[in-house]
């Protein structure tokens, strides 16, 4: 059962809080830019074009959009842990509403916020020589939304297993950073050793970034999966995560 007003009010709360915290926006926007320009410029001197199939900065760009989504969606979802710590989650959990509506509200909040941030990063694409057409912009928009939804729902599943703020650095070090490094953002997945390639193929971010590469860098680049696989895996994983998070939310008291 979906209660629209519940989903609406949860999304509104996250939006209001996001807009009030100016620092959060600045820091989530700064991270991808630092990676793109500082790491990207350094790496582009080391990585030959035939490895990535294009100029390294261009190769990195979809990965940086993926990174923006990864961080903002996970941040948004693990605000559930904050809500646990500061008690607000109890206020939501004792209300006569379905757990699914709560989870969906959180997932849509994460999707919305990370889509906004990813689109802001999209604006700088001409700086690194990517000039998307209108069609490509529309496709990237949907790709961004889909990836954001998948990561947000994954974030809710993760958040429901942790109780307090100390777990935050655990999540950063053992989930978020490995997800980024094993996503094909910085190097083509095919060039990784076999075991890491398997690990990457379990990572939803890999498919999102691959999908963005399909859309933004179609010509001559080394892609990892067919486009329909990217879409399919993201859609499927979102459903699984959404189902799982509703399930674990039922258990939270």
């Amino acid at each position: 059962m979906i209660e629209v007003r519940v989903v609406y009010v949860i999304v509104m709360r996250e939006l209001i809080k996001f807009l009030r915290e100016k620092g959060r926006l600045v820091s989530t926007m700064a991270r991808p830019l630092i990676w793109l320009f500082f790491v990207g410029m350094g790496m582009s001197r080391l990585v030959p074009q035939d490895v990535t199939g294009t100029d390294y900065m261009r190769f990195l760009f979809p990965g940086i959009i993926g990174m923006t989504i990864l961080f903002s969606a996970i941040f948004s979802s693990i605000s559930i842990i904050w809500d646990k710590e500061f008690g607000f989650l109890k206020e939501i959990l004792v209300a006569p509403v379905s757990r699914f509506s709560i989870v969906l509200g959180k997932a849509i909040s994460g999707t919305l916020l990370s889509t906004i941030q990813a689109l802001i990063i999209m604006l700088i694409s001409p700086l690194i020589g990517i000039y998307p057409s209108t069609g490509e912009i529309v496709s990237s928009f949907f790709m961004i939304m889909l990836l954001s939804f998948s990561i947000s729902t994954l974030g809710i599943v993760i958040a429901s297993f942790y109780e307090n703020l100390e777990s935050f650095s655990m999540i950063m070090n053992f989930i978020v950073m490995p997800m980024f490094f094993l996503s094909g953002a910085m190097y083509p997945v095919q060039k990784l050793p076999l075991i890491l390639r398997y690990a990457s193929s379990l990572n939803p971010l890999t498919y999102g970034i691959d999908g963005l590469k399909h859309v933004l860098l179609s010509e001559g680049i080394n892609l990892d999966f067919p486009f329909y696989i990217d879409i399919g895996v993201l859609a499927f994983s979102s459903m699984v995560f959404l189902f799982l998070s509703t399930l674990v939310f039922e258990k939270i008291r």
Partner: protein, 329 residues
């Protein structure tokens, strides 16, 4: 007139592993009253509230709120209740108004109704002029009042207050109490509250004292206090010795003297004081009455104080209790 109880439990049991937190609890709470659930820390008060709020399922036994089964009809129970938890559960980044609006949407009020209700309740709790301020700027007492307002937003039948005044300064406590005692009449709710402050339980119509998950006694505060054997009347006379001699001929109660005062134990103060005045007339210089507290009831029934083992702050409170004990001699 017999009304169906608004809260009812039947042989309620809750185990946490080997520990039995609630032990065959039978409760009945009448509508539109303030019911006090009194006991030391760890007695099972919060566990009971959590079961009644459908946040915990009982190991065995049944619980009903507003006629609905807490296990089988949790949604209906949840719509019937408002809760103020022991720990703050407001969103500190949102304003008072936004916190209440969020709650209203969760409970299915539309925007127009919600706005009117928010205005009414913020006025009632004396917070209207601060409605657009973020909650993080509120004092402890204001946050509590806002939580009470929030608990009332959706016109619940029962408002649960779990240690509502914990950690508040005496002035904020008094202020919060002024508001709470009006609730049954003005808002038509039944208030079910837990506390381990004796003086707070005094305003309840009925009190149940719980220890180790069991109700050890239940009744109105007056009934319970009479169990300890009545009041103590203290007075000073021009000549205490002579006064005692006169009183002992007429009154059967135990009479002692100390610290320049005479005390008459185990009496009904409202009857005894006029009696003393009548017998001694202008001999009497001052009279005061010491009523037994609910702490005395607990002490008598369990052999230990309610606050014993309590870890909280409340340094002043314990000093006051200490003095009271000494004053009594």
């Amino acid at each position: 007139m017999i009304m169906a109880p608004i809260i009812k439990t039947e042989s309620l049991v809750k185990d946490f592993g080997k520990i039995r937190a609630v032990d065959h609890l039978n409760l009945e709470v009448e509508e539109r009253t303030i019911f006090g659930f009194l006991g030391p820390n760890g007695a099972g008060k919060t566990t009971t509230i959590n079961i009644l709020c459908t946040l915990l399922s009982p190991t065995s036994g049944r619980a009903f709120v507003n006629g609905y089964d807490c296990v089988k009809e949790p949604h209906k129970v949840r719509s019937s209740i408002g809760i103020v938890f022991q720990d703050m559960t407001l969103d500190k980044d949102l304003t008072a108004f936004e916190n209440l609006l969020f709650h209203a949407y969760l409970y299915g009020l539309n925007r127009e109704k919600a706005k009117a209700r928010i205005e009414e309740l913020l006025n009632f709790m004396g917070l209207y002029d601060r409605k657009d301020e973020p909650v993080k700027r509120f004092s402890g007492g204001m946050k509590r009042r806002l939580e009470v307002a929030r608990g009332l937003m959706h016109y619940p039948k029962v408002l649960f207050l779990d240690e509502p005044t914990l950690g508040l300064d005496p002035q904020s406590r008094a202020n919060l109490w002024e508001h709470i005692i009006k609730l049954p009449e003005t808002q038509g709710v039944t208030v079910f509250m837990t506390t381990h402050y004796m003086d707070e339980a005094e305003v309840c119509q009925r009190v149940a004292i719980i220890d180790h998950g069991r109700i050890i006694v239940e009744g109105s505060p007056d009934e319970l206090k009479r169990m300890v054997g009545g009041d103590v009347v203290y007075f000073r006379a021009r000549d205490n010795k002579r006064a005692i001699r006169i009183l002992k001929e007429k009154i059967t109660a135990q009479i002692d003297e100390g610290d320049g005062e005479v005390f008459v134990h185990g009496v009904k103060g409202d009857v005894c004081i006029p009696e003393i005045i009548r017998l001694l007339g202008e001999e009497v210089l001052s009279v005061r009455l010491q009523r037994p507290t609910l702490n005395d009831v607990f002490l008598k029934l369990t052999g230990r104080g309610l606050r014993e083992g309590a870890q909280e702050d409340e340094f002043k409170e314990s000093i006051r209790a200490y003095r009271r004990r000494f004053d009594r001699g």
